[in-house]
């Protein structure tokens, strides 16, 4: 299985005076992402979880080329994205698309949804005829569950769920290989979430698309993803198959995330041993040395601050950046 996308040891730094500036002195910079690697196969879904400020969005923005990377490389189907000329990069962009968190804000209020959905087509296939584009817009709308008769409507006439379907149609019309979903359901009603998530899964099966899904809703992530990556302050903490998340995850941060999910039954919720992490996310300007989770980690030792723990294989497909936590309970028994 060759990887569709490979992110190799990528570091993204931002200047404190706004925007990523490669030349500014180091005290003015912080690393929003440091030494992050991942691989994504075709038809695979990778879920990324982490608190706000953990670098999830920066990672996907680096993948689509919206923020420059300082170190490492991003390889798309065997070709290094940072090395390719703008022309082939545009062709690669055709193969990637993105769905945004706020469905209404990601649609231009002055354009009809037909124009919005057609935009990737017009940019990437300038020779397509108007009738051809109109036909494909109608097809795609129907596929995501929107009536094609609505093409001339404007985004403000739609509900949040419908707007997100428009966003999905726009991401889908260019027949991409990879769709990146940045919190696709966070702004939606719970009742709509399942519809959108299931639609994404169906489309993945139908068109053989790979997905990168960012969310802080663990249940959504577990439902759609094949593998889950846990991030904290720009570092990868743990990466494991999603079926193993509840039983086999063992990084203290992952456990804390799982335990902080409330259970909608007061008696169980009260009886639970609350081991949620305390305190705020440390400042990016002055991150903790060594393992970045030390300041809030329940099992931190003195040595944790010395050097960054390597991401080591703890089981089949299970990578872990913590040498001290208990071995995965699932592995202990089995």
């Amino acid at each position: 299985m060759t990887a569709l996308l490979e992110v190799d040891n990528v570091t993204v730094e931002f200047s404190l005076r706004g925007g990523p500036v490669p030349g500014s002195p180091s005290r003015d910079r912080f690393a929003a992402l440091e030494g992050v690697s991942l691989e994504l196969a075709e038809r695979e879904t990778l879920g990324i979880v982490g608190e706000s400020g953990s670098g999830k969005t920066t990672l996907v923005r680096a993948i689509v080329g919206m923020v420059p990377i300082q170190k490492g490389r991003i390889v798309w189907k065997g070709s290094d994205l940072s090395g390719t000329d703008p022309d082939s990069r545009r062709r690669i962009r055709k193969d990637m698309s993105m769905i945004f968190q706020n469905p209404l804000a990601s649609l231009n209020p002055r354009m009809t949804i037909g124009q919005i959905i057609a935009e990737p087509c017009q940019v990437h296939e300038p020779h397509a005829s108007r009738a051809e584009i109109r036909r494909r817009v109608a097809e795609t709308m129907e596929r995501v569950g929107l009536a094609p008769a609505l093409v001339n409507r404007y985004p403000h006439e739609f509900s949040g769920g419908q707007c997100q379907r428009v966003g999905i149609a726009r991401a889908l019309i260019g027949r991409p290989k990879l769709i990146i979903c940045d919190e696709p359901v966070a702004a939606l009603d719970v009742s709509i979430r399942a519809q959108i998530v299931n639609l994404l899964k169906q489309l993945q099966d139908e068109f053989g698309i790979s997905l990168i899904m960012i969310s802080h809703d663990l249940s959504v992530i577990r439902h759609v993803s094949h593998r889950i990556m846990v991030m904290y302050l720009g570092h990868v903490m743990e990466m494991l198959p999603s079926g193993h998340l509840l039983q086999n995850s063992c990084h203290p941060y992952t456990r804390a995330l799982i335990e902080s999910v409330p259970i909608p039954d007061p008696s169980i919720q009260k009886a639970r041993e609350m081991r949620t992490i305390k305190g705020e996310l440390p400042s990016m300007r002055n991150p903790p040395s060594g393992c970045r989770f030390t300041t809030r980690c329940p099992i931190a030792r003195d040595r944790c601050g010395d050097s960054r723990p390597a991401l080591l294989e703890a089981g089949p497909g299970h990578w872990l950046a913590c040498p001290y936590c208990d071995p995965p309970p699932g592995l202990k028994t089995g």
């Binding site: 231009n108 109109r134 008769a149 609505l150 726009r170």
Partner: protein, 304 residues
């Protein structure tokens, strides 16, 4: 797989959408102040264009029978054909007022057009490109703004003589500065909205992003500001003309007429001041209320 099972001819008739413009039009129709202002401005525009046809006089003809006895013979009267009376030289004030309104409106609209074209272009580019370009462009605006333009314009008019062209150059120099600042600020906020980000991810070229995603979302602000700018430009021209440096005889503008009327006040010919002033004030209020109405119509959430 999606196949071509859906043929174009089989598509159902698309339902019409309700654009933000249609919403705004509906809201402004329900705003009596704005509609009254609009109607008043339309009537004044019609008067400026068609008024001279209703009179036997032209704006340059002198009624020799009136000359020397303006106070009594030049009174506004329907019988004499001088509906608004005459000025101190015996020229028909009705036609001259129509002429002055025409010139003043032209000055205001040309000033606003320069502001729209130059200011919008300048502001969007500065805001969208950002960084050093933005800094250089906006500091240039600051420098031009810090020059006392009225003083410079008066010197220019004195040195090169009075001319319409120089007046338009002067108006053009100052009118776009505020517009450029406003547009730049708006561009900065629109640039960070998600739909622009999504266009960047799709790979839309920057020029097309400005044209398709930023400009249409700026139009509201630009229209409102331009509507409010027109009366400012009229005041600006009137002030220059009031000082005797703007429009030259026999050409006239509201500023010139008001200036002449004011100088004759003590001779009992108050109509010479009254009629031009009336049109001046109605135009001012008309544009201000219309601009306010457009702003409310475009942004109903912003109303206090």
């Amino acid at each position: 797989m999606i196949s071509s099972r859906l043929q174009p001819e089989s598509l159902p008739e698309p339902e019409p959408g309700r654009s933000l413009w249609q919403d705004a039009r509906r809201r402004i129709r329900q705003n009596p102040v704005a509609m009254t202002s609009f109607l008043a401005l339309v009537l004044i525009g019609a008067f400026a264009v068609l008024g001279p046809l209703l009179s036997d006089w032209s704006s340059e003809d002198i009624n020799w029978n009136v000359l020397g006895n303006v106070e009594t013979a030049g009174r506004p009267a329907l019988g004499s054909g001088h509906y608004f009376g005459t000025d101190q030289l015996g020229r028909d004030l009705f036609v001259r007022t129509a002429h002055g309104v025409r010139v003043s409106l032209m000055v205001g609209i040309i000033g606003a057009l320069i502001a729209i074209v130059v200011g919008t272009l300048y502001g969007t580019i500065a805001g969208y490109v950002g960084g050093r370009t933005d800094n250089i462009m906006m500091r240039t605006v600051d420098v031009i703004m810090s020059i006392p333009y009225m003083f410079v314009l008066i010197i220019l008019l004195v040195i090169f003589g009075q001319s319409m062209i120089l007046l338009f150059v002067g108006i053009g120099l100052v009118s776009w500065l505020d517009m450029a600042r406003i547009v730049r600020g708006q561009t900065l906020s629109i640039k960070n909205r998600e739909f622009v980000e999504s266009a960047v991810v799709i790979g839309v070229p920057p020029a097309l992003i400005i044209l398709r995603h930023i400009l249409p979302n700026l139009v509201g602000v630009v229209i409102v500001y331009a509507t409010l700018l027109i009366p400012n430009m009229i005041i600006f021209e009137s002030f220059i003309s009031f000082l005797g440096l703007g429009i030259q005889e026999p050409n006239t503008s509201l500023g010139v007429l008001i200036s002449e009327g004011a100088s004759q006040m003590q001779y009992g010919v108050l109509w010479q001041l009254g009629f031009p002033l009336f049109f001046f004030i109605v135009i001012q209020f008309g544009f201000f209320f219309l601009g306010d109405g457009i702003r409310d119509a475009l942004d109903p959430k912003d109303r206090h």
